[in-house]
Amino acid sequence: MTSYALFLGCTIPARQPHYELAARKALTKLGIELVDLEGATCCAPPPIQSIDLETSLAIAAYNICLAEEAELNILALCTGCFESLTIANRLLKEKRELREKINKILSNAGRKFKGTKEVKHYLQVLIDDVGVNRLKQNVVKPLNNLNVAAFSGCHLLRPSELLRFDDPERPRIFDTLIEVLGAKSIPYKNKLRCCGGLLRGYADDIALAIARDKIVNAYNARADCISTLCPFCFLTLDLGQMLIKTTYKEEYNMPIVHYAELLSLSLGVEPKELALDFHKIKVDKILEKIG
């Protein structure tokens, strides 16, 4: 059994337990042991990077230190956490001066970044540790050609120079992992474009206009659902449709489903075992189609 330090971040455990529940069930079924770290904090994502880049690197490095001490690689569910932690891990491994500067800060918290561990997004764990073939063998309830609009979110892919996850212009990993579950990853307009989520709270109107584009493009491509990996993309597109209804007087009823939920369902987890009532846009249509 392969073990990972599970990095939950802030939003998933506090706002989207349906994501955590589905991810824990699916990964455990696939033989991945998840260890909850003691004392982990926020990963220091873009809002904190906007305030002070050095502070955010130090906080990310502190969290990586916890995994180093536990002698485990990190598995991140949230794409934002994956980005913050990977950037810090790569920069500090590769830039000695920066590492020394950050280690000086960390010494105040009795920590030292050594650079001995990896940060992985759970999709990478599915590819590297489970493997596409074994995943396929574990699918007991194929998703019946469900038309899925894959939306990885920006920070799984970019900045590619540091994240090194997949080809940033023509990514395939997420689509492959959708198709192995028996669904179709359909093409749709501006598939790799941002959901606008990080502008929520500062420029809500602009954020909503960008999110609406995403929904409309998936809708026009006749998607049964949009599949997400990032809790902010989920929130922006799921709750966003309530706001689109009041602001634009338009109703799309496009279910937004975390990939971990599709994965769980295909591995035979019963819908009632997942916290599907956390979806604002109901997912009944998908459950019906899957059968």
């Binding site: 909850d36 904090t41 220091a44 873009p46 002070d52 502070t55 920006c154 474009r193 941002c194 206009a209």
Partner: protein, 168 residues
């Protein structure tokens, strides 16, 4: 309104973490053409923002609204032929603006969450109960002692909360 020489501002930017690559910009506009925000609003254009910064328009850049309209999607940075790290340059500009007291209210909320709970989205009693119902393990508390030591060492509190303009 140019304060100091144009190059003073450029130097201030390039000496900051994230700002190093701004000088390579040759204004081709690839960033603006690939930006999801620029095609949605006239309030934001990354090419113009970089140009203003390189022209030394410190006040317009740091007190303006544009630096806060980047969605951090990194399309521009990915596609820049000059390898200008546009999104990171904007982080550097935000870091500078905040030090001058230009802080949008939402960022004060983020910082408050971090400083008080170690999380940007603190957990509610309702969710704690829900987690138990679903059989999820209780959420482990953040190590606030370690976090406070780190924030004190980087001067985060002083950056965020000392300025007059810092009230929400």
């Amino acid at each position: 309104m140019t304060e100091g020489k144009p190059l003073d501002f450029t130097r201030a930017i390039t000496s900051r973490l994230g700002g190093e690559t701004i000088i390579h910009c040759y204004q081709c506009g690839t960033c603006a053409s690939t930006c999801p925000v620029a095609r949605t609003t006239e309030r934001y254009n990354p090419r113009q923002l970089i140009r203003l910064a390189l022209l030394g328009q410190r006040a317009e850049v740091l007190k303006g609204d544009a630096i806060w309209l980047c969605a951090s999607c990194y399309n521009c940075q990915e596609r820049c032929p000059q390898k200008v790290e546009v999104a990171d340059v904007i982080y550097a500009l935000r870091n500078m603006a905040i030090r001058e007291g230009n802080i949008p209210a939402i960022y004060i909320e983020f910082a408050t969450g971090l400083v008080s709970e170690g999380r940007l989205a603190p957990i509610s009693k309702f969710l704690e109960k829900k987690r138990t119902e679903y059989g999820l393990p209780p959420l482990k508390p953040a190590n606030m002692e370690a976090l406070k030591a780190i924030l004190a060492a980087t001067g985060f509190d002083k950056i965020m909360f000392k300025k007059e303009g810092a009230s929400p």
